[in-house]
């Protein structure tokens, strides 16, 4: 069993707790134990917070990193936004002495020091990594295959991009997430402009909701075109934008999609035999029933 400090972020624990519960239970079956990172806070939100003052963004993200350094454990997380803050600040501070000294000057005020002794991983990359888990192990853990369902993948932005600072390769048409979806017995589908943003990031959801939803609406139209039973992602903020966004889109633009939106961990949970109640799917704004009826 590999152990990781589980950085929760905000939206998973406070809006979609099913993601948190599923991540812990499904990972345990894949040889990954998630331990709570006590006292962690907001990553903080890279778009909404970093936009105001990057220095505070570095310092607050570093505080979260130091908590894991004190546990002497790598961090894993389930949100692209958190990945941008936690992974990127870890990376920058490890390689930029000037910024690290600046951050440590602030952290000294709270008796902390950033040492750069740990690494940060998105749970989805641990699942895909052959050395840690791998697609075959994911497939072997499935007891209730999602046979007969067509599922649209959404990669989101901040895990893969900007590609020159990341290690995920192609960002124009990656296919690795599809392998993980297919491993659950489902059929992943391709759609137009797959890599487009969900529209929520950068503080735009709060700044101009109509603009933000218009981007989401374009994605939903493209997915509707190929006929998918559900959309899956590995970012609770994208999930919020697609899920609650569909209600808002109906109000604002009069378009209805009824497309269930599930975090990959929620899908994996279903495929490993967890019930919809164990995943709190009733908290989703879009009814998941049509999708569940196909698999249960």
């Amino acid at each position: 069993m590999r152990q990781y400090a589980f950085f929760l972020g905000c939206i998973a624990p406070n809006r979609y707790p099913g993601c948190e519960a599923a991540a812990i239970k499904t990972s345990a079956k894949l040889g990954i134990e998630l331990l709570p990172l006590e006292g962690a806070g907001c990553c903080p939100a890279p778009g909404a917070f970093g936009a105001i003052d990057l220095k505070v963004w570095y310092a607050l993200a570093a505080r979260n990193l130091v908590l894991a350094e004190q546990m002497n454990m790598d961090i894993t997380l389930i949100c692209n936004g958190c990945y941008k803050s936690i992974w990127e600040v870890n990376h920058i501070l490890k390689h930029n002495d000037e910024l690290r000294d600046g951050v440590n000057e602030v952290l000294a005020e709270v008796d902390m020091e950033f040492k750069g002794s740990i690494d940060v991983w998105h749970l989805i990359e641990l699942y895909y990594d052959e050395k840690i888990c791998g697609v075959d192990k994911v497939r072997a853990s499935v007891t209730h295959p999602l046979t007969g369902t067509r599922i649209a993948p959404h990669y989101g932005c901040h895990l893969l991009k900007p590609k020159k600072e990341r290690h995920f390769g192609d960002t124009e048409n990656p296919m690795w997430f599809e392998e993980l979806i297919d491993a659950l017995g489902a059929e992943s589908v391709q759609y137009r402009n797959k890599m487009q943003c969900c529209g929520a990031g950068g503080g735009v959801r709060g700044y101009d909701l109509t603009h933000s939803l218009d981007i989401t609406n374009e994605k939903l139209l493209n997915i509707q075109e190929v006929g998918a039973d559900a959309l899956t992602e590995f970012c609770p903020f994208c999930q919020l934008q697609y899920d609650r966004g569909q209600v808002e889109i109906e109000e604002k633009f009069g378009q209805t999609y009824n497309l269930p939106v599930l975090h990959y961990n929620e899908l994996l949970g279903l495929a490993q035999g967890m019930t919809p109640q164990e995943l709190a799917l009733d908290l989703h704004a879009v009814d998941c029933k049509p999708f569940l009826e196909k698999i249960l």
Binding site: C10, P13, N14, I52, D53, V106, K161, P162, H211
Partner: protein, 194 residues
């Protein structure tokens, strides 16, 4: 999606009314500041427009990231920082991945937003996030519906974050106070309500 762009602030609108360029308007230091904060060589932009072509915000607004790149190079500080479009970037980094000069236009926008905040130009929603993190440690805090749902799942009603460990919140506040961030956010919000 067509709409009138404005900040709802008569004084600012007056400042923005004259849009002709004069050499006096240029501030070369602006480009240097942008380069330092963004950690990208913004002066290398040759205005090909790949960034705007890749931008999900461009087709539905007047936001043109290439324009901001140009304003940075020309040192047109006010033109760039006063434009409400500055806040329409979703930070998707598509432009950064495709830039043929290997620049990071997204980070240029982030740097410009940082500079705008220094002169009190910032949308209210950004400041509200600051206040929430300052008081709870979370940008999106827990609520009662969610607490009940968490308990049903066998999770603690409050996650093992600052929500269960409020003793960590003063540390977060100290870090934010070091940069006077909360103070500035409160002041800007209060001034906006007058």
């Amino acid at each position: 999606m067509a709409k009138v762009k404005d900040y709802g602030n008569a004084e600012l609108e007056e400042k923005l009314r004259d849009t002709a360029y004069y050499a006096d308007d240029a501030n070369p230091q602006f480009l240097e500041d942008v380069k330092k904060i963004s950690r990208t060589a913004a002066n290398m932009c040759f205005q090909c427009g790949t960034c705007t072509g890749s931008c999900p915000s461009a087709p539905r607004s007047s936001y043109r990231i290439r324009l901001f790149m140009r304003k940075g190079v020309l040192g047109l500080e006010k033109e760039a920082l006063y434009d409400p479009d500055l806040w329409l970037c979703t930070t998707c980094y598509s432009c950064t991945d495709r830039c043929p000069r290997d620049l990071a236009p997204t980070d240029v926008i982030m740097a410009m937003r940082n500079l705008a905040f220094k002169i009190d130009i910032v949308p209210r929603n950004f400041l509200k996030t600051v206040q929430l993190i300052y008081t709870t440690g979370h940008g999106v805090p827990n609520n009662d519906v969610n607490r009940a749902a968490r308990e049903k799942l066998g999770l603690p009603a409050d996650p093992p974050t600052t929500h269960s460990h409020p003793e960590f919140i003063p540390g977060i506040q100290k870090i934010m106070d070091f940069y006077k961030m909360k103070e500035n956010a409160d002041r800007i919000l209060a001034e906006g309500e007058q």
